[in-house]
Structure formats: structure tokens, C-alpha cells
Amino acid sequence: MEDYAASSDDEYRYSDPEDSVDAFDNDDNDYQLVSSKGPSTQVITKESLLGAQKEDLRKVMDMLSVREQHARTLLIFHRWDVEKLFAVYVDRGKHFLFSEAGVTVDEHRDSNSSAAPLTIMCEICIEDVPSDETTKMDCGHCFCNGCWTEHFIVKINEGQSKRIRCMAHKCYSICDEAVVITLLSKKHPDMAEKYERFLLESYIEDNKRVKWCPSAPHCGNAIRVEDDELFEVECSCGLQFCFSCLSEAHSPCSCLMWELWAKKCRDESETVNWITVHTKPCPKCHKPVEKNGGCNLVSCICGQAFCWLCGGATGREHTLSSIAAHSCGRYEEQEKTAERAKRDLYRYMHYHNRYKAHTDSFKLESKLKETIQKKIAVSEEKHSTLRDYSWVNNGLSRLFRSRRVLSYSYAFAFYMFGDELFKEEMTEAQREIKQNLFEDQQQQLEANVEKLSKILEERFQTFKYDKVMEIRMQIINLTTIIDKLCQKMYECIENDLLGSLHIGVHNIAPYKSKGIDKASELSVHNIAL
């Protein structure tokens, strides 16, 4: 998994190590256009967690007319999937739903009406206990409060808070949380607190629609989604991430592609590969020696001569094609593997260089943010009639977004047209057609992005009015064209490339013209508690 740098400190960000995989921090936040579509993702903070949970509890309580603690036990069992819970209710009935989750409702609670004996022998501690110091759970099993309390503590310490079962053998009933809290609170308020926190956090940890924001240090938030489609999201702390794999936003790479790519970039093995492709160890001193010149006799600085093809030590007497008194057998096989390794390495370097060029540009362009604000200020002074500079800001955010897309599109292409994932999926000819189709789009996008980048660097604040209007038109046009091209490239990826795959499902987060969705704050006060 990726590490996330705390993204509040700009200085820190720009000093990212050269080869950092997470080259894109979330620098385009300030330029986010207001999303027109209603938000489908929400931030759950420490404060709103309780409210968020109550929403779902309320639905179940209303539907099944049960108390809150039973609703929670049911929801925990069904991993907070209200729809699934209701489906089980409809298909299998209330009795099945309850017993499956270990909920017993009030069947034995009213036994107080009959005259209770003064003392009861607790079967766990074998002590006679005054009956008002015993507790009967909903399942009907009654033990002394001391035993219950100890049982709860052991289970909480074992990490079983969310499903503490009754103490009786083969009773699968879940202990009523209200009872657990009441009994613990008497002597162990710290444990009661711990227990309540576990129950609360179950809403995040056992819920496939809610995930902790992966920020480090952790911002304390979780994100909730409405449907389980793959997408990328921005937490209110500013971190943008893939909801599915929780690493940095990586569309149009699928999660698997991104995982492989990030690993490949991190691995030193690629550098090691370069050495194995281009050098051979000296048979005497074992230093790597590069081949120089055409013949296969190479010499190490230690003075040892050896054969480049098999690595064996030789004398110095040789012709272009043979070395005296040396017969070399492993030529062809060695040459072949070396060739393949070299080809693979060059292929990776091709894609990585372009990937990196765009991440580097992105870093440089991030600095444009400040300079452009200054330029706008100067220009405003100069041309009193020109008030609207949204075209610059829109152009800039378009640039940031398309840089991301471009950069990740190289990692995508590396896997899409490589052997690692889809070798069996297409013939060499099909692959070539698809690759041409894709690269066509990619190149068009690339050309326009570079154009936009260049224009945005122009010193428009020094221009005359007419020239400013001209540059304004150019930027507006490019902004629109680039958006269209990104869209087209995604269509190509979704329909012509990934859409035609037979094995392995590769989903990618859809293209968002307006940038990655920001999760909205969950407004708790709207929820009837």
C-alpha cells in the first residue's frame, strides 16, 4: 500500500524524492469547479459517526419494530447492509433473521412477575447469589452479575466486542448491549467505554460501503458511498484516493494495474536488470564490466580478459569472431534471454519515462498556481474592463486534471499492451490495432495538453487588451478540446480495450470532467435521532 504524505505542507510536497510513485498530490483542490451533480459520497467525522449509524439503525428499528440494541446486532451480523437485511427478512422471515444473528427478543424477560427466590445458585461460579445480583439475558440464561462482567471483559479483550455470546454452552444468543454497558459501568467504566467505541466503529470496519480515509497521519474521517461502483473520492482532509484499493487516485489504471505499476516503480530490481543486461561480472574480481566495442572479448580493469558471451575467463589473443583456445557453447541460449530481458527493460523504460515526464510537469505546473494569481492581479489593474478571469483558472485546473490522466495512461498502456496481464486476450495483430487506436488518442491529448501548458505560462499580464482576448480564446478552446479528448480516450479504454476482454475484470474509475468528487460532510442534524 502507498504511503500518504500529510498534504498540508507545500514545501514538503515539492521536495518529494525524484522517483516517488505518488507524484500527484492533490494540488488541484483550489480550482475545483462546483459539482453540479448531487454528491454520492459523504465524509463521516468522529462527530457524525454516531448520527450516520443511527440513520441505518432507525430504518431497521422502524421496519421490524425492535429496540436499538437488537437492530445493531442484526446490522453488525449483516455488515451494515440494510438492503440485504431486509431481503433476508422478506425471503426467510423474522424468526430466521433473528436466530441467525443471535437475537432473542424478550421471551423470558417478564419472569420477575412470578415471585423470584431470594438467592440463586450461579452455575458458573457455583455461589449462591442474591437474585437482585443476577441477570437474565433475553435467551433466558441467568447468571450472577460478577460472572457476566468477567465474561464481558474477557471477550472485549479478545476483540469480540461486536458479538459477545451468552455464557451458556451452545447458546448462540448475543448479549444485549444495554445489559453489557450497565453491568460494566458499575466497576469498569473504561471497559464500558471501550465496548461502546467498538460498537460504534463497527459501522466503519464491518461496512462495505464505509471505509476509513487512508490519510497518514489519519484525519479521523471515514467515507461513505451510496453505491458500490468503482470511483475515486476526495476526503475533506484533501486526500484523493481510490475507494476500492485505498491507494492514490490512479484512473485510468485498474487497481491491479496500479498495484503492479507502483511496485514495479519501487523495485530496485529494474536497475539491477539494467546492470544484468548491459554488464557482466568479471570472473576474477566479480565487478560488473560493460561491453565496449564489437568483439566478444572484454577486459576488466583488474586486467582479466573474458568472453562476453559465456562470461568465462580467456586469454587475450582473439579475432572479431573467436577467442584463441576458447570454445564457447552457450552462445545462442544466453543471447536469447539477454535479448528478451533487454527488450522488456526498454519497453518499461519507454512507458516509465513518459509517465514520469508528466508527473514531473505536474509538479512544475503546480507552482503556476501562485504565479498565475499574481498575473491576474497585475492584469486586473491594467485592464479595468476585464473582470472575469475564470478562463485562466479553468484552464489551469483542466491542465492539472489532464496531466494526471495522461500520466496514468502510460502505466495503463504498459499493462494493456504488454504480456503480463493480457497475453492470452488478443492476437499480435489485434493488439497492434488496439494499440494504434489508443496511442492516437493519447498523442492528440498529449499535444493539446502541452499546448495549454505553454500558453498558461505566457506573461499575459503584460499584453495589450486585444492580445489578452486572443489568448483567452485560445485557452478556452484548448480547455474544451482537452476535456473532450480525455472523454474520448476513456470511451476508447472502456469500450474498445477493457470492454472486449474475456478474462479478468478490470474496472476503472470513470472520467470526471469536473475533477475527483469531493465527499460532502454528513449533516447529522438532519437525522432524527
Binding site: E123, I124, C125, I126, E127, C147, E150, H151, I153, V154, M167, A168, H169, K170, C171
Partner: protein, 153 residues
Amino acid sequence: MANSNLPRRIIKETQRLLSEPAPGISASPSEDNMRYFNVMILGPTQSPYEGGVFKLELFLPEEYPMAAPKVRFLTKIYHPNIDKLGRICLDILKDKWSPALQIRTVLLSIQALLSAPNPDDPLSENIAKHWKSNEAEAVETAKEWTRLYASGA
């Protein structure tokens, strides 16, 4: 005595284990630690362990009975649910433990496990494989081990 603050439940259980022992099972607390029991289980009839006397140790942790007792075979035994160190794979000693269970029920369950090995939930991969691929041969090995290591001392 060092065991003066022993819970009443442990005292009761111990008394009953000594006064009315379960057939084929004996369990007696150690002199200096009343939470540590020396246990002997006779190999059940019609099992590969028939005729064997198996020594075990049983220890009641501080949390007992909220936590399960710790039990281990001291005698070497060839059984798919018991490993080299004598550790036992038995659900009631793990997640199915209930404070309502007792030392007696645990030992009876272990005795039952000797009669009915369960190679589908193995602790010892190799023995389980042996058991599944050639049960007759595995049973022979178990008998052999019983003769070698458990023939009573």
C-alpha cells in the same frame, strides 16, 4: 496454603473429579499449584489407542472459567488433531468455549476425540494426510505408537 484464594468453583470441580471420577479418566491437582492438574486418559476401546495410558497436563488460567483451560498431551500420540507438542485441536478449547463447561466435560471431549479422529480439521497436516490417503496404515501407526509410548508405566 498458597491456594487459599482459589475460587469456590475450582474447589467444587476438583472435589467432584476426585470423588466421582469419569470412567477412564483421572485428574488430580498438583500439590503446590491447585490450578495445575495431572491427567491420565485411558485409550478408548475399539480405537487405535486402546490399551494405552495417556498423560496430559491441564492448567486453569487466571480467567478460568471465562477462558478455557489449557490442556496438552505429555505422552507422544499419533493423531491428526494433536501435534508434536501435544497441543490439541478441539473447538471447545477455543472459540466454542463456554464458561458453563467444566474440566470434566473437557476431558470427556478429549477422550471422545481419541475415538473419533477428525482429519478434516487437522492440527498435524502430515498425519491428517496419512489418515485420509491410507486410513488402515495410519491406524496401524497409531497402534504402534500406543505400544511404544503409552503402554503404561
